[in-house]
């Protein structure tokens, strides 16, 4: 009897499964992990970064498909000649999706909320250059004196020092504008009840299961968004998502193509045309702790650079990256195409080690994240360095444990894979101050090589003082010089620059897939349905 009931239940289940997917005009994406928050001041992950960009706006944004800045919630801006004040004229007639009108007061409110330590925003560090921000963070001031509301449509920022990337920082999620009323209403849970001025508004969020965004019909960019509804499904294993994409149940793989399927996809002409690849503004590297012996010797660091055959490393990851020859990736302004780095030459590497006083090599420890494929990459590095007599002991730990050990300066060598430095904005100074500047070579900092070159730091400050648009070329040339010198100094062994691969169904298209290192995995406002199933 029991068995028969079970069979009956099975039959009913089967029938309902068949009816479940009828044709649908909405776009479906999958992610393996549930997203944590949609609060622009807080969210800082691969998966929620662009969802927040779809719901909220900042004063600045990037022209779709490019790294070119343009005003968003502002219509124009004016930079003072000393580069210290930025005056924005705001867009009029914009409302939040809950109907509240947007004005200059909201901009100030949003910044002060983000900077308030109680918000625990990971983005605070980008904005401490605003006058009075530090005093506000330390509780010594009620508001941020450097953010002034001049009129309901005008707001002025005053900086303590010129910052050529300040406009880039105003295009970062942390600076996005939130409506005071909704924030007060939801308090700490605002991240689960987001309301913005953006192209989409949130319709439904069932934690662990799905998030549904619907088009904001009143969005101030009339041509965006190009689809009516996006459903994000969470908890979907990338392998399963890949199968479902081929059945047309999923439109875009949020986590990319599973590595086990990658070779198959790229060798199948039909599948390959569904893949959009883009070079990330990213460098994966092995850091060499320049304060520890023997890595305090530049000769040793250069020798290690020469001992690595990068094509072997790339093979481990199915060539989903380009070989790196210097600190900056080729997609970043300031990359030096004439600098060829340290080409593979184990014989010369061995000679240089001998010159530095290590004819028989030495032993050291390489930290790596324990998430595949990173331990395998660390092993390739281990094997290759063994050829010049360097014996590495691999410590494979959880990413957070590696970050902690490296941040405390306890790790002689760290393979950055899986924790690597992705740009926050497409400007070379983002690859300097947080990971190579002297100020980041402190406990808890991300300068894992503990590299500190005061002379280059001073040049960097000089470059960042060139804030006028007319000075841009000279500024980039200066950064190019700084990074070339730093690459020559070899605080890292740069291994590769990742490429991201987004796979979609044949019906999807649009400039939203051209992410230019800014969107993860796509720009939701610019993806569109271009054909039938």
């Amino acid at each position: 009897m029991k068995l028969r009931m079970w069979l009956l239940a099975l039959a009913i289940a089967l029938a309902s499964a068949g009816a479940a997917f009828a044709a649908n005009s909405k776009v479906v994406l999958t992610f393996q992990n549930d997203i944590s928050t949609l609060d622009p001041a807080i969210g800082y992950n691969w998966d929620n970064w662009s969802m927040i960009q779809a719901i909220f706006d900042g004063l600045m944004t990037y022209k779709p498909g490019t790294t070119e800045l343009e005003p968003a919630l502002a219509t124009s801006y004016d930079i003072s000649s000393d580069g210290l004040t930025y005056t924005f004229t705001l867009r009029q007639g914009v409302t939040f999706t809950d109907g509240e009108p947007f004005n200059a007061q909201d901009v100030k409110y949003s910044f002060e909320r983000m900077l308030n330590p109680a918000t625990q925003s990971p983005g605070v560090g980008f904005y401490t250059g605003i006058e009075g921000a530090q005093a506000f963070i330390d509780g010594k001031a009620q508001g941020v004196s450097g953010i002034e509301v001049l009129s309901p449509t005008q707001v002025r920022f005053t900086l303590t020092a010129p910052d050529a990337t300040f406009l880039n920082k105003l295009a970062l999620n942390f600076s996005f504008v939130v409506p005071p009323k909704a924030v007060e209403k939801w308090g700490k849970d605002f991240g689960h009840h987001p309301v913005g001025t953006g192209g989409f508004s949130m319709k439904e969020w069932v934690p662990g299961q799905r998030l549904v965004l619907v088009k904001n019909p009143d969005y101030f960019v009339p041509s965006e968004p190009k689809v009516d509804e996006i459903e994000f499904q969470f908890g979907v294993d990338p392998n399963v998502a890949f199968l479902r994409l081929q059945r047309g149940e999923v439109d875009i793989l949020g986590d990319g193509i599973p590595s086990s399927q990658f070779a198959k996809v790229m060798s199948d002409p039909k599948l390959k045309q569904l893949v959009v690849s883009s070079d990330q503004i990213e460098t994966s590297f092995v850091s060499l702790n320049t304060t520890m012996k023997p890595f305090d010797d530049v000769g040793v660091r250069q020798a290690l650079n020469m001992a690595i055959d990068r094509s072997q490393v790339l093979r481990v990851i199915n060539n989903r990256a380009g070989a790196a020859d210097q600190i900056l990736p080729p997609t970043m302004p300031g990359y030096n195409p004439d600098f060829k780095g340290f080409p593979y030459d184990p014989a010369k590497a061995k000679q240089m080690l001998a010159d530095a006083g290590y004819p028989n090599g030495f032993s050291s420890t390489l930290y790596t994240s324990n998430v595949d494929p990173n331990p395998r990459i660390a092993q390739v590095v281990q094997q290759q360095l063994a050829q010049i007599g360097v014996k590495l002991d691999i410590r494979s730990l959880s990413p957070s444990a590696v970050i902690d050990a490296a941040g405390q300066g306890k790790a002689p060598m760290v393979w950055s894979g899986g924790m690597a430095w992705l740009d926050d904005y497409p400007d070379p100074n983002d690859f300097w101050w947080p990971i190579l500047g002297c100020d980041s070579a402190v406990p808890g900092g991300w300068n894992w090589a503990r590299y500190c070159n005061k002379e280059l730091d001073a040049q960097g400050q000089k470059a960042d003082a060139m804030v006028q648009p007319s000075q841009r070329d000279a500024r980039i040339a200066l950064w190019k010089d700084i990074f070339t010198k730093a690459s020559q100094d070899a605080p890292w062994i740069p291994l590769f620059n990742e490429r991201s691969y987004v796979m979609h169904t044949p019906r999807m298209g649009g400039i939203g897939f051209k992410v230019a290192g800014i969107y993860t995995p796509v720009n939701y406002k610019e993806i569109e349905i271009v054909g039938g199933q």
Binding site: L3, I12, F234, L243
Partner: protein, 308 residues
């Protein structure tokens, strides 16, 4: 009986407290600063320190521990570091999914395991018996996620009878393959256990008496034999409530079911301590309650067993 139950409940509470304590100390030993995880890469050390202070991470372990227990007594599981929401709310959305997976999984174990166990004990030594023995060994020794992936590939991708993972609206069709995956190993196990215990029981004097007085074979097995032979299986079901908590983490991952397993998995990756603690607490409750239930069903099935 009541006294016994109370005593067992107290013991269970003790066990749960022990588990919480050990987990709490473990999360303390892990060389990771959760404040750094929250603060993100661009945070200055001062920001990290400030967040650490807000979370109470700068207090000594005993203070944090007492604080945690105090909140727990007030049914406050704390707030998730990563999700920025109440842990109790997270548990409330994820728990029903796991419960359903567990119940359907146990149903699968019983529905597959018991018939096989009976058949192979009755037809001892036959080709049937040997075939089932093989099945049981394959079942017990195949990891659940392998079973899950194979089932998904066969019955959801090649032959699209079932959805390719996901939870949908929680309809039963989303549970069939996951339940089979968690139940497959158990079914083999149950079949083996039931076979050996049934073989034993059927050899006993009272069954021989029944046979001698002309009881039909079917009755010999089901009325006289099975009732006694089921005892070890019942014990296994109780234990499974705990054992499953380990398996569901993997199976929920394979089938994209938003249950406690997935909640824990994501929390562990980012060292979201309050969520890890909440998950461990729920798991230990499952184990204690499962064992207790198994013990309480014994006397109902076998009047010879009594608790005092």
């Amino acid at each position: 009986m009541t006294g016994y139950v109370l005593r067992r409940l107290l013991q269970g509470l003790g066990a749960i407290l022990g588990v919480i304590t050990v987990t709490f100390i473990l999360t303390y030993i892990v060389p990771v600063n959760p404040a750094q995880m929250i603060a993100g890469p661009s945070a200055t050390p001062e920001v990290v320190a400030r967040i650490g202070h807000q979370l109470g991470l700068d207090q000594p372990l005993p203070v944090r521990y007492v604080h945690y227990l105090w909140n727990l007594v007030h049914f406050d599981l704390g707030r998730s570091y990563a999700q920025r929401t109440e842990v109790s709310a997270l548990v409330a959305t994820h728990l029903p999914v796991t419960l359903k997976l567990m119940l359907t999984g146990i149903a699968c174990e019983l529905l597959i395991g018991i018939p096989i166990g009976i058949l192979s004990s009755v037809a001892q030594g036959s080709w049937w018996d040997r075939g089932f023995t093989l099945f049981a060994f394959v079942g017990v020794s195949t990891p659940q996620f392998v079973v899950g992936l194979v089932l998904l590939y066969l019955f959801a991708y090649l032959v699209p009878w079932f959805p390719l993972g996901g939870y949908g609206n929680g309809a039963l069709d989303h549970y069939v393959l996951p339940a089979l995956s968690v139940g497959f190993a158990g079914a083999g196990w149950y079949a083996r256990v039931l076979r050996s215990s049934l073989v034993d029981v059927l050899r006993q004097d009272y069954v021989r008496t029944a046979r001698a007085k002309g009881v039909r074979p079917r009755s010999q097995v089901f009325r006289h034999g099975l009732r006694n032979a089921m005892l070890p299986v019942i014990a296994l079901v109780g234990l499974d409530l705990g054992v499953f908590m380990g398996g569901v983490i993997v199976v929920e991952q394979v089938f994209a079911l938003p249950g406690l397993g997935q909640m824990m998995w994501q929390a562990i990756q980012v060292l979201d301590i309050p969520v890890i603690m909440g998950g461990v607490l729920m798991t230990s409750i499952f184990v204690v309650v499962g064992n207790l239930l198994a013990d309480m069903i014994y006397p109902l099935l076998d009047p010879r067993i009594q608790y005092h």
